[in-house]
Symmetry: C2
Subunit: 257 residues, 2 copies
Amino acid sequence: MSQTVDRALSILPLLAEGPADLGQVADRLGVHKSTALRLLRTLHEHGLVYRQSDQRYRLGARLFALAQEAMEHLDVREIAHPHLVRLGGSCGHTVHLAVYEDGEVLYIDKVDSRYPVRMYSRIGKPVAITVAAVAKLLLADLPEAQRRAVAEALDYPLYTARSTPNAAAFLRELATVRDQGWATDLGGHEESINCVAAPVRGADGRVVAAMSVSAPNVVVTADELLALLPLVRRTADAISGEYSGRTPVTTPDRDTV
Amino acid sequence: MSQTVDRALSILPLLAEGPADLGQVADRLGVHKSTALRLLRTLHEHGLVYRQSDQRYRLGARLFALAQEAMEHLDVREIAHPHLVRLGGSCGHTVHLAVYEDGEVLYIDKVDSRYPVRMYSRIGKPVAITVAAVAKLLLADLPEAQRRAVAEALDYPLYTARSTPNAAAFLRELATVRDQGWATDLGGHEESINCVAAPVRGADGRVVAAMSVSAPNVVVTADELLALLPLVRRTADAISGEYSGRTPVTTPDRDTV
DNA sequence: AATGGATGTTGCACGCAGTGCAACAGACCT
DNA sequence: AGGTCTGTTGCACTGCGTGCAACATCCATT
């Protein structure tokens, strides 16, 4: 691993906490000011940090550009999007699409009944990985060893009384989810919110993404939401089919972005 | 400037174009494979790149996290948000907030009449800097020399017949905008879309952001939209006042994020 | 099976590039 | 003026990043 690059990249999360001046950056990196200066200059040339008028540094615009571009190149998302929109339109609830990456679960698309959002507002914030229905599906598909390792490394915050309390319970839940091929979150994250989720699979059968429908129980009861499960699964299967190239793709009107 | 970091960061825009394998990265950087490998490893440890199952690299999740965090620390945006919502609610059209940074103009917030979006969907994509009303305001406030330099470095794509054709015309437009303290875009980007915009100023009078109201002319005519100008300017001034600390801040119900 | 040509990975010696230092330049305050 | 902050520059040293060559896998040919 490269020391210089490592130091430079460590500056980014540091600045994510808020603007900082040269001295602060140097201190927190444990390097000389002149070193920090050169690193910041390099980051600046690439647009990753910006120097505001009070001379302090903060994260730069190119970061948004990169995040945006990266997102648009996620092909699962591109394929899934029209399906999500259709599902959202027909059931009227919020639909999410999520992927797993290096121990984290990440929402990559969201459709609300009235409005499709390209970038989910919570991207980057820690997803409630121990309770979210999509997270269960994604983790349940990991190889045994990895699944255990991840489960045991997690914290288990008690969002509500129904939150997953610990690694053992989580692993049991994952086993169930793995067998049945779908997952729920009944008030595990927020007391009044329920979700049902289904997996999207690649050609080799591995889970590449997971999608869910969420609704507050003041709108529909948990039972009513569960009644949507077949529809959710059918949608997920349709996406799986198209993603793994089984369907000759009936030109699903690609939206002009 | 640091060579190693420079190379490492050059990988990011490269991967933004799409996934690439080790050889491709090494080639495009002009370095040996082993060098590229170490750089990629370092980027990987920081979560900025992700190695997908086919061993190719693509941009990683941490990037979204950083972009998201950065966005939430933009204090103009935080202060402006409730004002934008109120304006959007009262006039019913789309409201944008934008800032200037290092030669680029960047939307940092958007409110649609029915739905507030945290991260604008076009973030990262090149904003139509030569025609957008907010861009005119932001560029018009730059020091003479810098304004000229930027204007002459730009391309002037003819989106429509009313697009700004060249640097000279743009600079003339900027002078006008600077004098009058507001700006419009009447079909300069898309034939049927009009915008009116007003500047948000800091305590020193410098323009720190710009906001606009946009509407298609099938909904309201350009004249009707222009009638909203006083309201837009009042809103912008209110934000300016609060941003520069003049108002003792009447606790403008901070939304619980 | 055996061969060839892809790829990704490791260890190592060389030398340049990144480092910390010390001195300088401003800004701001007392 | 003096003092104390800040950011910046030039330079000598050596530690770190570099490219090389050898190795390890994999897959497609024969």
